[in-house]
Symmetry: C2
Subunit: 430 residues, 2 copies
């Protein structure tokens, strides 16, 4: 295996070794469990571990090759807001301690049907929303946050516990932890993956996402979720990409590391032979973060109403704030937010149609100290615009903590964006 | 009780009698169960009956008055696409026979927390989508459909099994059965009620709705779901309503009964002293039904992917058609549908802002023979526009089967629309 420890293989590497008969699911799962045992006292990525993982691996190893799924034998982490059979689903809420759903979320079930082994459930900001923080540490500096809400899933991939993990994004919960932890992450366009059986916060924004250690691994997951159709079947893939780079509407909120990462990205892409254009988004996009919060908080009121009624003061007060609409966003504010967001979606698609990919910051800077999930300012806009986002780490010699960039494009241009990302990643993550 | 049988009371009437100590929950529930026993062999509204309903009634009867909820002791039917504890949730699918979720859907939990008694689960079109039809008969003519997908919930209210019922609407699944069965129904604006724990078909359109036997009962349910905030706090309620009447963009699909009901509505409202204006919607609204189906089928592909992968040919072929995108709606078609729908939302709000309520057909005509759910053509547009809809029966001396009209308004104008409906209903349902 070329001297790489089993737990450091990408999913695609492991898959090839298994297909060639040079690796068993048991060996891979055992390496994953061993790494977790060694490290999770420090990292605290996991809320529950699948005690049957090795049994499942043996069952998979015994299958004839023609019954191998696309994720055959691969260990996967699942954020603890997805319903899972056989593993508790707690949403990192004391109110759901020991809760056992009766069915897998479809997004989880599809992984199992493809032969993946759910290694366990990972820590998260409570209900992937607010309230209690995840206890997880950033593997690159234990005093810092891995980012949230998908804290445990990101740390588990970054710390080589598992090659793949399921996450969600409502504001910046998939992409920001990928940036803080130095891994690959993808939030597909809205509506492509079922959100059934995933704790509800915002019906407009909640999106299933995932982590891997290569673009190839992100594409493998996309394939399992049926994301295989091109937006423009006629558009030819070219060697030279036309890339737009934008600091976005909140440039004054960027720390020097993020600006440097974006500038290094532009330089390396030009050196790699691609066309790079810096551009500004329309000034009115500055309001998108406000619109995102308005829709989020109004939809959150509906999502948490029953919990608030049932648990009273046992439920974290931040959820009561949503239900009671404490920041006083009116129904008219909500309508305005919906309509201006729809217009921005059309406007952004028009802009993005001129590029193979648009590159933007993934976070204000590197992971801050503590356990707070971090600021979603540089992600929420893309979630609101319903567009695909792929995080790619950018190697920076003078930056101690991981940093990276977001690749995005028009709505439903996921397949072409993954192809562009595969070309771009080797130039940035060197 | 003024000679009205207990099972024929509206929820609001029963509530007042219980508050006055003149009726117990046990008496009301016993009347409900007795009616179901007598009638459900013919009606087939129910897939499961709560065997503990009388025990729950006794527990509620023993509570001190200050612990009575807003739905204290009221028997309620729940469509079998809502997760329920203690009652199986089958979605009328053979694949979910005997399935027991571990938690109530929040929309169900809120009813229980207010003292409602879930009498049982009602039949539905499979997954509230397509596939298997409900077996339920229309109480007004057993050879005819009650409409779908909320077939059992509508029939259970119409046949006086229960005063209230939970439904859902993705196309026309709440309003059309209300029309076919001659009861009151409400689909609130999108995003006001949690859709967690409700079988997912379309994340953009799936909406929790409900049935009652008066506008007051619909408003009671809206209150429980926190729909209490006015869109325009400044707008004064006036005695004379300004009402717009529109046949909508598909007038040529209307049967004579529906046209007559709309014309009778206009006449009676004018006689009642209200201002009535007939108007046409913009011609481009004719495309909204196509856009609805495009979004629905694309989102349905994500919703049913795991079921299709797991059950293969045991899953009804119509779900495979969604997953495989058999009608070949491209990603570009999807984007077009989203954007044109957003524009239509803004346009319709502008039109609707000139009226206290807009009145339109609820269905092409009266309930057709058979068990098919019926055509959603006159409902899907409103679901897509995210606006509130209230169905009011219209008494028509020469029409054998029930018929009625839809009241609608701007997005999030639910509270004012309920107030208008309360004034309008006595003039139409005489």
């Amino acid at each position: 295996m070329n001297g790489i420890a089993l737990n450091q293989l990408t999913a695609s590497q492991a898959r090839k070794l298994m297909a060639g008969g040079r690796l068993t699911a048991r060996e891979l799962v055992a390496a994953s469990l061993s790494r977790i045992r060694d490290r999770d006292g420090d990292i605290r990525a996991w809320l529950a571990i699948n005690q049957d993982a090795l049994v499942e691996a043996d069952r998979l190893d015994a299958l004839p090759k023609d019954q191998h799924g696309r994720l055959h034998g691969l260990p996967i982490a699942v954020k603890d807001v997805f319903d899972t059979v056989g593993l508790p689903t707690t949403h990192n809420s004391p109110l759901y301690r020991g809760f056992h759903p009766a069915a897998d979320a479809p997004a989880v079930e599809l992984l199992r049907l493809e032969g993946a082994i759910i290694i366990g459930k990972t820590d998260t900001t409570e209900f992937a929303a607010c309230g209690n923080d995840a206890a997880t540490a950033n593997p690159h500096d234990l005093s810092r946050t891995p980012g949230g809400s998908s804290a445990g899933s990101a740390a588990a991939v970054a710390d080589f516990h598992v090659p793949l993990a399921l996450a969600t994004q409502t504001g910046g919960s998939t992409i920001r932890p990928a940036s803080f932890c130095g891994i690959y992450g993808m939030k597909p366009s809205a509506g492509l993956v079922s959100r059934e059986g995933v704790k509800l916060y915002s019906v407009s924004f909640d999106t299933v996402g995932w982590y891997g250690r290569s673009v190839e691994d992100l594409a493998l997951m996309a394939d399992v979720y049926g994301i295989t159709e091109k937006l423009n079947e006629d558009r030819k893939s070219r060697d030279t990409l036309n890339i737009g780079v934008s600091f976005g509407p909140y440039r004054d909120k960027l720390e020097p590391e993020s600006i440097a990462a974006l500038e290094a990205t532009a330089t390396r892409l030009r050196e790699g032979g691609h066309d790079v254009t810096f551009f500004d988004l329309p000034a009115k996009f500055e309001a998108l973060d406000l619109y995102h919060r308005t829709i989020l908080h109004r939809e959150g009121a509906a999502a948490f109403r029953a919990l608030a009624r049932r648990f009273g003061s046992d439920l974290h007060k931040e959820f009561h704030h949503r239900v009671e609409n404490r920041d006083n966003r009116t129904l008219s504010d909500w309508v305005t937010a919906i309509d201006r967001s729809a217009e921005a979606q059309m406007m952004f698609d028009e802009i993005a149609s001129g590029f193979d990919a648009i590159i933007a910051p993934s976070a204000p800077g590197t992971a801050p100290p503590g356990r707070k999930p971090g600021d979603p300012l540089f992600n929420a806009m893309w979630t609101l615009l319903r567009v695909p986002c792929i995080h790619i780490p950018v190697s920076m010699a003078n930056v101690a903590m991981p940093i990276g960039v977001t690749l995005t494009s028009m709505r439903y241009n996921d397949v072409a964006l993954l192809a562009s990302a595969a070309k771009i990643a080797p130039l940035l993550n060197t």
